[in-house]
Structures are given as structure tokens and as C-alpha cells.
């Protein structure tokens, strides 16, 4: 099952807080798509996910300086 989270309107620390809380609700093997802004969220969200043992499957730029991240729990 694939979940989706848009954190482009969030600021630190709620960017990675919301990702962490969403991942906590999911089961192992499920995927989460995260739409995020460049800069601080793009630098820290993928890194903190990997540090916690989640897999970052892809990280693609989209329109308007945003990125779409695919994470597997």
C-alpha cells in the first residue's frame, strides 16, 4: 500500500515530525510518497529516514523546486 504526504506547507521541525509520525502508523514494507521543498526538508528528511533504517527508493525533482520522495518502511 502506498501512502502520500505533502509537507511543502510545513516548516522545521514539523517537516520531519510529520514524516516520522506517518511512518510510525504504517506497517513494514509499505511505501510513503512525500512531496517536499528543496533546502532544509530535502537535505534532512531523506537522511533522517535512512538513519532510522527506512529505504529511500527514489528522489525525483518535480515542478516549482519541489521533490517527490519514495520511502519504504
Amino acid at each position: 500500500m502506498k501512502h502520500f504526504l505533502d509537507i511543502t506547507n510545513e516548516t522545521c521541525p514539523m517537516t520531519f515530525v510529520k514524516v516520522k509520525l506517518q511512518l510510525a502508523k504504517m506497517s513494514d514494507g509499505e511505501q510513503l510518497e512525500v512531496l517536499l521543498n528543496e533546502g532544509e526538508p530535502l537535505e534532512n528528511v531523506p537522511r533522517s529516514c535512512e538513519e532510522q533504517g527506512y529505504k529511500v527508493l527514489s528522489n525525483e525533482p518535480t515542478d516549482n523546486n519541489k521533490h517527490l520522495l519514495l520511502i519504504e518502511k
Binding site: 510545513e10 516548516t11 521541525p13 515530525v17 514524516v19 509520525l21 532510522q52 527506512y54
Partner: protein, 162 residues
Amino acid sequence: MNIPANKKKISIVCFSGDFDKMVAAFTIATGAAATNREVTLFFTFWGLNALKKNKGRAATGKSILAKAFNFLMGGLNHLPLSRLNFFGASSKLMTRMMKQHNVATLPELVEAAHALGVRIVACEMAMHILEVEKSDMIEEVQDVVGVATFLNDSEDAHIIFI
């Protein structure tokens, strides 16, 4: 999920009951917890105001002095700004500005800290002085501890004093 055996730890002493400093404490706490750190918030002196069950003003305590102090200080909704407080108006204006800029407000940060499992403990000595009982505080307060317990728990942690 692989959790590292040696999880990083952060302990934050919430001494000041100022609104802006409490925002800083909860921002660091939630950010740290979301990036897989074990976080303890140790509330003492004026910081205890943020833990009161009654977020408005209440004459908590038994003695006249304690009741007066607790009533005047109030709870989470009455934390003063450390600068330019203007009799309490500034924290409400600051909250409005935070919302306008999509920054999490203090109640939202507190809720996130609870959801992330941030450990919240209260200082036994400060509670005695201000005559605040555990039953006067929010249920998320996990323990009432002394400085020795806090230091033991924070043995391998970074300690931040706010």
C-alpha cells in the same frame, strides 16, 4: 526497522516558563525525537507552568503564597514572552504570526512531542516549593524526579538548559 543500539540522547532542562523559550525547547525536542533521538524534558521552576493541567489561571497549592504565585503565573496559555511581553498580549500576537507563517504553534509542538514519545519529567523540589502535585499536571508527565535521577538518566546525553 533497524534501531541503532546506541541511540543518541538529548535532555532538555525547561527552567524558564517563557513562551518563546518553551517554543525553542519543544522545537528541539520534537526535531530530535523525529530524527530518532531519545529525548527527555525535565521541567523545573517556572517551566512547571507548561505542565499544569489547567492551562488558564488557577490558585493551585495550599498556602496563600503558593496559590498567589500559581494564579499569577497561570498555565500553558499564559506563558509570557521573554521580551516585549506587553502584559501577555505578545504571546497571542506571536502565535498569530506563527500561524501566518505555517510555523507550528506551541500547543501543536506539545502534541507532537507527546505523539513522538518524548519523555516528560517534573522536578520534585520545584513542585514542593510551588505546592504543585502530580495530579495538578497533565497525564503525560511520566515521573516526578530529583536532580540525581535526572543526571543518572542523562549520563550519555547532551544536556541543554533553556
